[in-house]
Symmetry: C2
Subunit: 463 residues, 2 copies
């Protein structure tokens, strides 16, 4: 059932456009969902893209524009006049999408488009939505919803709902408000159908007053809206102001996008990518997004060189053999610990545990992993023919490094979170770089200790 | 509006239970949403948990059980008889949740519970759902939905819908089927309301035949279902068999859970965690989930030691200084490249690019990052007082390592994907370990080249 774009389809459209076969193009796109057309446009060359967009049915074109990637949408919007944008795009999409698209325009064009809107209610709805901060419930919500007055009769209610339904794509919930638009509860479709034929029933007799109707205020952050909708399994959530007045509603499809973006952002941070990039972006954009973390790694590497220099590597050159092992293990353990904390913070499962309890547990995990890895390392390195003293040194250092990295990886994201910095920043290159340096210090300190106390000539034991 | 659990609340419940103040506990929980009660239970001690669960209203208790973490649910289910599970839990929840809960039971109890179900339709629905593979559309779908026959009158339709609505929590969509239950299209609520008062209208006159009604078959993987619903902004999707017969529907709330789990899994893989764990898990579970990646790191570290040994570190001990830098940079670049590919594969934006084009682009990004980092390193290491020849050696090696890591990080996830292995496996410790080893080989090879061709005594230049 799912539509798959093929290279052949893209080539066919490109060549049809080149040869002026407009009908062939229209034919191919006619039965596709706007989201699929957006994907097709995404794969076309920039010139073909603009041409094909003009061939689309006006009603479909607006929906396609909503689904398109932001950069392509901006490209297409540039080729439209303010009047075209107002009448052919904004007028045909929901208020939340309309506000998002207008927000992307340059200031001057923004005002022109709003001035061109014929429906004054629509214009004021959009201006209202533009006032909310990005990434808040207010910016996510749409003004379109089904709303009935508590004092109406069911017959009146059905009449009004027919009018409202023209603007609302998906109904989900029928909200009940008082004369001041204060949200009182919901009207279930079942009750409405049950009383549809009775003309005397009142909304006030049949609506549901929820003790715990879940609402959000417009200044709530979009991530928190997503968590609420996820937790309570909601498809839509009403947005109300301080006085309880119904301002709009947020639907799950917009929230799914927030969830996906959030997950991608955390993943990118953990992988050492600073901006929201994708593989299709320009080489320079991709380079820029990755450079900050590489520079951190570079600085860490130079600091590591200084540390090794201090510890007189010239006299104990065999110490160098296990530098990569110590650095890699510290980094791996640190990233693991940080990732578990970051996820615990994200889904709030960490909320009621004390810092000391968390660190103690992580100490336990670190100690267990440390013992297992150290014993394996001791056996393996001995079997591989490295000197006994070196094997012991590396194994003891590894144990200490793993415990340090586990505690450090747990502590840093918790500390960042306390100061309202995204804890995901702590994962990836940051943790690995810090662990590299501390790991080297631990490694060489253990070596000095072993050399001083047990076997001053242990390096001679090497094969 | 959102409910927040406090330590005080948990302590109050624990002490109320201890002192036998059942009413106080019931009072506190009475107005809470089942999802909130589940969170409270999650924070209670095991004995208190079972006691509090028994205090809950039966209707609420079933919903709470659905929301609970799997391990706690299993713990509570163990204390219930098969008859209690059938009558007090399964009978009160939707078929998809019912099937999921029964699937978690031991085989014997499974059959007992099903035998205790009084409603034969319900029992056969559940048996049907149990047959689908985990992680497929069939396992996600529920049998409860609103379904009308195309030949009915609108009046008949509303009468039937009232009955059906008793079982369906959220209606979302009214499906239209023929006499053989083959899905034909949807009936919009707007049209239904418009014709509600007319008794003569037929469903066949007013329903919508979608050219492109989006459906899934029961064997489609749940990840693909999630991607479809995300792409097409759907709140529910009908599941049909080969013959087009309507089997059930999948609702967005279940799909949101799939999306979140999928994102968490990728994040954990990138962070070197093998099983789905969270910070609350037992120390041994956490250790076991992390150990496989640490063992990979360990093996890599030993291989690295062998590589350094081959290259005669004793004669050039100063080479050791920059081992951490080379290893860290290779690892970072590799992880970055792999992460971008993994995300591109996940959201299909990579689908129509050729392998050669992708590698060429990554070569560009690698070359640009490599040049920038190498020049900075050259300057910085020189200013920090390291010998000229060493500075040049490290900078040249870094450039080569970055380009290799970028290409390797791009190629591995693409190759895994080709053989239907989760490309996210390629990120994290796997890539960093491989890059460590190759990075070292490149570093020492460059050093040998520099020593042989330009400055055989370059190590003497060190401060």
């Amino acid at each position: 059932m799912s539509f798959e774009i093929t290279k052949e389809l893209i080539q066919k459209i490109e060549s049809d456009v080149e040869n002026g076969h407009d009908n062939a193009v229209t034919e191919v796109l006619r039965d596709l969902h706007p989201a699929d057309i957006a994907e097709v446009l995404d794969d076309l060359s920039t010139t073909t893209l603009s041409y094909v967009y003009r061939l689309l049915d006006k009603e479909i074109a607006a929906d396609v524009l909503v689904e398109l990637e932001e950069d392509l949408r901006e490209h297409l919007m540039k080729s439209l006049t303010s009047k075209e944008i107002a009448e052919e795009v904004i007028d045909r999409v929901n208020s939340d999408d309309a506000a998002d698209m207008i927000a992307e325009l340059p200031t001057e064009k923004k005002e022109e488009v709003i001035a061109h809107l014929e429906d004054q209610d629509q214009a004021s709805d959009i201006i209202d939505l533009l006032n909310y901060d990005d990434d808040t419930a207010g910016a996510l919500m749409a003004k379109e919803l089904m709303k009935v007055n508590v004092n109406w009769t069911v017959a009146n209610c059905i009449r009004e709902m027919r009018k409202q339904a023209a603007d609302v794509d998906n109904i989900y919930t029928i909200y009940v408000v008082d004369n001041h638009d204060v949200l009182l509860g919901r009207l279930s479709l079942r009750k409405l159908l049950f009383h549809a034929s009775s003309t005397r029933a009142l909304v006030s007799d049949i609506y549901e007053i929820d003790q715990q109707l879940i609402t959000v205020q417009p200044d709530v952050e979009e991530e928190d809206v997503a968590k609420m909708m996820e937790k309570y399994d909601l498809v839509s959530i009403p947005v109300v102001n301080d006085a309880g007045v119904l301002l709009g509603r947020i639907t799950i499809d917009d929230v799914v996008d927030v969830i996906v973006e959030e997950a991608e952002k955390d993943y990118q941070l953990a992988s050492g990518i600073a901006e929201d990039v994708e593989s299709k972006d320009q080489i320079w954009t991709l380079t820029r997004a990755r450079l900050p973390w590489l520079l951190i790694g570079l600085a860490g590497g130079l600091a590591g060189a200084k540390v090794i220099g201090i510890f007189d590597i010239e006299e104990n050159p065999m110490m160098a053999l296990f530098i990569p092992l110590i650095a890699a293990m510290g980094g791996n353990v640190g990233v693991q610990s940080a990732a578990i904390v970051v996820q615990g913070l994200a889904n709030k499962s960490l909320r009621n545990e004390k810092l000391s309890a968390k660190l103690l547990k992580e100490f336990g995990v670190g100690a267990l992993n440390g013992i297992i890895c150290s014993i394996i390392l001791l056996g393996a390195s001995y079997l591989l023919g490295f000197g006994t003293a070196l094997c012991f040194t590396v194994s003891i250092a590894l144990f200490a490094v793993i415990i340090f990295a586990a505690l450090f990886g747990t502590f840093i994201p918790l500390a960042l979170d306390k100061y309202d910095i995204d804890p995901a920043l702590a994962t990836g290159p940051f943790i690995t770089t810090a662990n590299d340096i501390v790991g080297l210090i631990i490694y060489f300190t253990v070596a000095q200790f072993v050399a001083a106390n047990f076997d001053p000539s242990f390096l001679a034991l090497l094969p």
